[in-house]
């Protein structure tokens, strides 16, 4: 899976399931939690999704706003352990 695939899979999932607006034009560096687009609850959901989809386990202490607030950060985190 390429970086592009990961990014677009995550973007589609986040807009559809977490922001609940599949048409929302989410930018790569947009603060998803700090911008109020989703709750910090959704970080736990993201952890489940990333493990299921990319087979990457992100330990709880890494599921924080500082480490997962943008698509760029998430993609980098998934790529690190892929």
């Amino acid at each position: 899976m390429t970086e592009h695939d990961i990014r677009e899979k995550l973007r589609a999932y986040i807009t559809r399931e977490l922001i609940r607006d599949a048409k929302y034009p989410l930018k790569d560096d947009e603060g998803i939690i700090s911008g109020g687009l989703m709750d910090s609850f959704a970080l736990a959901e993201l952890g489940v999704y990333v493990e299921k989809t990319f087979n990457v386990y992100i330990p709880d202490p890494d599921l924080t706003v500082a480490k997962m607030d943008t698509l760029d950060l998430m993609v980098a985190r998934v790529l690190r352990d892929l």
Binding site: G35, L37, M38, A44, D60
Partner: protein, 564 residues
């Protein structure tokens, strides 16, 4: 322990086990965090921490009857400050903590407004925030540094009279709507005695909680009750728990937890968002009760939770329900211990239109599920009244719950204009529901209120914020909640009329701005934003935006889109 039998031995909160027990080595509480090893606080250590907090308060000139506000973090310092205030006869109140989502300047303003409105004597906050806060409040502001340097003088607690106000619980809402529920020592002790019986509390219980300390359920069940009753409290931060829900089950396993209070959404959160590998080695076998309270209960949430965790020891009779309100200290009713909450299928149309709870078969086309909140706790009475006429209604008739008990609030603090109790001592709750076969069923609220993740949100507060967002036509915004089955709670919807006809980029900016502003100012996540032109919103004949009509229209459109 404080029970109905021993109630007369207790006169004030300082008669608590954590302060009076001779066994100073017993564990009072354990603070757990992912970032550090567990912090075990014995009763002896708790008393020392409390004495130091009391000394710091005295140094601020705080004395008996003074109100102090704790606007610190969710941790030991706030806990010690609360009890330190009780020790010197002051009145503590926990204020929500500053989260990463909230704008610090807005937060500062809300603390400042509260301090001015209620004549607060001192605010306890973090070192970082103290100087910022001092710029806007006229009362004393002190922080961790002052507590740490306080001389922990051994002093005796200041005795309180039973009817003195012990502490305040603040309701949600912005300045104008927020009320300080004043509870007396007598009311709190009465409540804990009755609640002891309702949940069959015993000395072998262990409470595990992630609930915020400023929330009535967290404050009473997940903080004061264990310390007063002398049973261990295992406490974690709500901010850590939401991101790592397995923490709760891990704590139950490690500390052999027996009691845990959760708002409905937490059942979905745990069932859906704990990873399989995080469940390894965990067990719920020690648990007696999970108590679902403080937002509408969905039977489906219990089912999800049970199916997910039956394999690690969850049993159906553990999943109980309560109904409560801060004005009655906490609980009003509770599922009888050892039983499974009753579930009824009702005819939705008869319920909503005629206000009658008529049982129908599960396959009925209009069947809607209602879960019983159990039977009323001892020394609390409940009745259902017609909101319009005040007439007392019969079984299965929907109306407003009125509550009378030996543990109701004394007053809304510094609000002589409000009279919470009627002449005959009944408190009108604002909650709608019915009684059937001696059990309490909640069906809604008299006034518009969104309950999201156990948090009460007034739509008017959100609308006021959205009206100030650039590009939104002022006065043409509406906010409401819609129940979401996946989340097990209400999600927030905002519909706003935009000025002119912005292009896609302009709409995107307004959309993002609404979400960001509401999060920063109210700490609330808006799940759905709909931007509309001047033809969309439904107004009443007087030009007011009708929430329920717009909600119905939005739901209809969503369902139509879903069907496409």
């Amino acid at each position: 322990m404080l029970s109905l039998e021993t109630r007369d031995r207790y006169h004030m909160l300082l008669d608590s086990a954590v302060l009076t027990s001779a066994d100073s080595a017993a564990v009072a509480l354990v603070m757990i965090s992912q970032a550090s090893p567990p912090l075990v606080i014995t009763r002896g250590e708790f008393r020392r921490l409390m004495q130091r907090a009391a000394a710091a308060l005295r140094a601020q000139g705080v004395g008996p009857g003074d109100l102090i506000v704790i606007a610190h973090t969710h941790g030991l310092e706030s806990i010690a400050a609360f009890w330190g205030a009780l020790w010197i006869g002051a009145i503590p109140s926990m204020f929500p903590t500053l989260t990463e989502k909230l704008d610090p300047l807005i937060y500062r303003q809300s603390v400042g407004d509260l301090a001015a409105r209620e004549g607060v004597k001192a605010v306890f906050t973090t070192d970082d925030f103290a100087s910022l806060l001092r710029e806007v409040v006229s009362c004393a502001v002190y922080s961790t540094a002052q507590v740490e340097s306080a001389a922990p003088a051994e002093s005796d607690g200041v005795p309180a009279a039973p009817d003195d106000i012990a502490f305040l619980q603040h309701s949600s809402g912005t300045t104008g709507l927020q009320k300080g529920v004043a509870l007396s020592h007598r009311a709190v002790l009465n409540h804990l005695a009755s609640y002891h019986e309702a949940i069959a509390l015993s000395e072998s219980d262990v409470i595990v909680s992630w609930l915020p300390l400023y929330h009535d359920m967290g404050l009473i069940a997940g903080f004061l009750m264990p310390l007063i009753q002398g049973i261990p409290l295992i406490l974690m931060s709500p901010f850590e728990w939401v991101k790592a829900p397995a923490m709760l089950l891990r704590a139950i396993t490690e500390y052999q937890g027996t009691l845990c209070w959760l708002p409905n959404f937490a059942y979905n959160h745990c069932a859906r968002r704990i990873r399989e590998r995080d469940l390894e080695g965990l067990s719920l076998a020690s648990m007696r009760l999970f108590i679902n309270e403080s937002e509408p209960v969905a039977d489906e949430s219990h089912r999800l939770f049970f199916e997910r965790f039956a394999g690690i020891g969850c049993r159906r009779e553990m999943l109980t329900v309560g109904y409560g309100m801060a004005e009655n200290v906490f609980a009003v009713s509770q599922t009888p211990v050892g039983t499974i909450p009753r579930v009824e299928m009702l005819d939705r149309a008869l319920l909503e239109v005629q206000g009658r709870a008529v049982v129908v078969p599960p396959d009925h086309p209009r069947a809607v599920t209602k879960v019983s909140c159990g039977s009323v706790i001892r020394h609390t009475e409940i009745r259902v009244v017609d909101p319009a006429s005040g007439r007392v209604l019969g079984d299965r008739e929907v109306g407003e719950f009125a509550v009378r008990s030996d543990c109701l609030l004394s007053e809304y603090y510094k609000r002589p204009d409000l009279h919470p109790l009627g002449a005959d001592g009944w408190f009108l709750s604002g909650d709608l529901g019915y009684l059937a076969d001696g059990e309490v069923y909640v069906s809604g609220r008299k006034k518009d209120l969104i309950i999201n993740g156990g948090k009460n949100i007034f739509p008017a507060d959100l609308e006021a914020i959205v009206n100030q967002v650039g590009g939104v036509y002022p006065g043409r915004a509406v906010a409401f909640g819609v129940f979401d089955e996946r989340e097990g709670t209400e999600l927030v919807v905002v519909i706003a009329e935009v000025i002119g006809a912005p292009d896609d980029e302009g709409l995107r900016a307004i959309n993002a701005d609404i979400r960001r502003t509401v999060a920063a100012r109210a700490g609330v996540t808006v799940s759905y934003v709909k931007l509309v032109d001047d033809r969309w919103l439904i107004k009443t004949s007087s030009g007011k935006i009708a929430r329920s009509a717009n909600r119905a229209k939005w739901l209809q459109e969503r369902d139509a889109e879903g069907a496409d």
